[in-house]
Symmetry: C2
């Protein structure tokens, strides 16, 4: 087994609060290799920040596309959207009532109503040209165009609601209950600035401004691929040595939860040709690929790593974190599609998605924002953590109480604990234990 | 115009910070009608809480369905999901290394390594039955089944990585680097309790437990319908009196943002038959309907209200809020599908969606939770608000500073202001003005 000196650490299963975890001496004895990305960081580990920075530096935002409004939610504008026309495009009534000249009703009061003849009606959607005869009123609906020579609307509740003539019980100033042309936006106004991630109100505004589509970077499409001879489709029977595939379902769901369309691809066996074929098939409809498994050893079973290392565009690193130490990132295919090779332990894969893939999805839209400062909370129980690695402990955060409770079962295979958690408590690299009552940074899970 | 005495108020356009808004005397003079829902509340207005309570009381949760895991994100469990099998289902290695008997390596140290012959290898996914010969080691991969008679794994980094024989430099206790059968879950354990809204980790756990599908209440399907002769599809040309349809696009996007599949239906003209046909067409593929427009007047143009009032299952009310006063809610069709008739002003429609429709979507999954207490923030500017109505002012919340700035342009047609806002500041019903520096409740927008 000649590659043993170059193997990476497997993803690591220490229990928080457990004392018997073994120490992890760094490998320093193997010869230096250059020009071979999988060896670049073997002498040590890189920090979470350094790995993330490398990912963000490598990602080129997707080109903007012309997106129909129905597909625009979550897309990110690359340039300002400006109003081509005034909004509203004509003076119109903001109330159901009567269009008048304000001067004709200046003397109206409860005691002495002004009575005007009603000369017609302007319903919303009427595109005829109306003109108010001075000394008369016209019935008008909310949104209907204000007749020429009218300058105010008297709401129906300030009148007797008459059909042929109307008694107006209150004076209104010129401009009352009138939405002026351009009062929402004037031609040339910036409606939405570049960099806006489109929410529902933005989509509404684009429609109101007459746009049926918009140039924007779409949500990246994610393909999730899991590898391993031990994997079986859920629903089928197992024999000892096999497990049900869960990572690709989970990663696809996590991508959807982040707003992205995502596909779970078929399970891929530990075979270089099969891995290459799966990647090739997934590429045309994916903007980002995630594989899980096949990256922990340097040996013949380490099929994802072996396959991708031979392409020379994907780097494998040990990141100083727990869970999730063995990380791979690079690009493949004609469009330099980003690919993440996440560890096969489900909890490691999930935490890695959260820390690295989710920011990459934002970066693909040119919209990465550093996370707002983590929540601070007080530990209700003591915790332990391996030296030289930052721990992300699954926990229950009680935000109101400012307390965080680490859950039992912190091994990387213990998915049930992840399913119960609502947050990750962070124990820094240099810290190996913290007492109850210590304050920690906490990341809330989506 | 004989129905004038029964008209509702149109949705209301006061400007925050503007003084000249007209007052709104209550109608008290019309005769009492009974058995006709649209008149029930005309004498007064109901509170936001009362309207929401009526909605929640009327909604029956959707029946659970058998959902494939790919469709399960966001669905809500109706019963506990329990483990049918132990997870993991067999003892396996948590590291790449060598399976041993702990007693065989008890004396190992850096100075005096224990050397054992390597008798075979257990890759992950191997389903053969292995047995460790005492006094030997077997190479083993992460996730591979622990051979019978082995009780520990020595990680490869504590060895020389040998192929035919291995020098082990550190003793390990029995159980080291072994994931015991059932250490994630035992048969019968509750994996996910009833009421869980499925997130990515939950989907992963279901897959890991062997389930290809799950019984759960799906995300409700929303159909958004807008009515009005004045409406034109975005992208087309306008003549004065027409506007581009934006409400249905916005409501569909808001529903999608809330995680629900949503369809924007074609624009419906102000015609009873057309409205009925549109509702009939939308019903078979919708779990909740939203219309906008056609509800402000009691007259012949008030087509949504007239159409639905005749069915007798939808009530129309004035809610003491601004924007969004005229609200309709009820059920239609063979499945008593909830229907909301929102006002046609875009801002009113959006705020109404946020306050009433979004909770209804949760209730359809049996998952309504009262909103966590609103954020408190300090006004940077004075505001005005109409008497007897709770104002929801579009504003910019600076959470870190604890400050909230009302935006200019608070009329209900001013969608550009909504698109700039990240929150709604609440001014209570009995308050008509607040100075800069006053503390207000603030709802953050999604």
């Amino acid at each position: 087994m000649t590659t043993a000196g170059h193997t990476n650490h497997a993803d690591h299963p220490e229990q928080a609060g457990q004392t018997e975890h073994t120490s992890h001496p760094e490998h320093t004895s193997h010869p230096e290799h250059t020009g071979h990305p999988e060896h670049a960081d073997q002498a040590g580990m890189v920090s979470v920040e350094s790995h993330l920075a490398a990912i963000l530096a490598a990602i080129k935002p997707l080109p903007p596309r012309d997106l129909a409004l129905a597909d625009a939610l979550g897309a990110v504008l690359v340039s300002d959207v400006t109003a081509r026309w005034a909004l509203p495009s004509f003076d119109n009534s903001s109330m159901d009532g009567y269009a008048v000249r304000a001067s004709d009703v200046a003397g109206a009061s409860e005691q002495q109503p002004v009575v005007l003849p009603v000369k017609g009606e302007v319903p919303a959607g009427d595109t005829g040209a109306y003109r108010l005869v001075p000394g008369s009123a016209m019935k008008i609906m909310t949104g209907a165009p204000l007749p020429a020579d009218a300058d105010a609307v008297v709401p129906v509740e300030l009148t007797d609601g008459g059909a042929d003539q109307v008694a107006i019980r209150q004076a209104v100033p010129a401009g009352a209950s009138v939405r002026r042309v351009g009062s929402d936006a004037r031609p040339g106004d910036v409606l939405l600035p570049a960099g806006t991630r489109l929410g529902a109100a933005h989509v509404g505004l684009l429609a109101a401004a007459g746009l049926a589509s918009v140039q924007a970077r779409p949500r990246p499409r994610v393909a999730a691929i899991s590898t391993g001879n031990e994997l079986v489709e859920p629903g089928g029977a197992l024999v000892p040595g096999q497990i049900w595939e869960s990572n690709a379902s989970m990663i696809a769901a996590a991508a959807r939860q982040a707003g992205c369309p995502a596909q779970r691809r078929a399970i891929v066996p530990d075979d270089t040709d099969a891995v290459l074929a799966a990647l090739r098939e997934a590429l045309p409809t994916a903007d980002l690929l995630v594989t899980t498994g096949g990256v922990s050893m340097g040996g013949e079973h380490d099929v994802v790593k072996a396959t991708l290392a031979s392409l020379g565009t994907v780097s494998f690193r040990k990141v100083a974190m727990q869970p999730g130490m063995p990380q791979g990132f690079g690009t493949i295919g004609p469009d330099a599609t980003p690919i993440f090779t996440l560890p096969g332990n489900p909890v490691s894969a999930y935490v890695s998605f959260f820390l690295f893939v989710a920011p990459a999805l934002d970066a693909l839209q040119g919209h990465y924002r550093e996370r707002a400062s983590p929540v601070q909370a007080v530990l209700t129980q003591p915790v332990r953590s391996p030296a030289h690695r930052r721990s992300y402990l699954r926990c229950l955060l009680d935000r109101a109480a400012g307390e965080v409770t680490p859950l039992s079962g912190q091994s990387s295979h213990q998915l049930a604990t992840l399913a119960r958690a609502n947050a990750l408590a962070i124990v820094p690299e240099q810290v190996t234990e913290l007492p109850a009552g210590a304050s920690v940074d906490v990341l809330e899970l989506p």
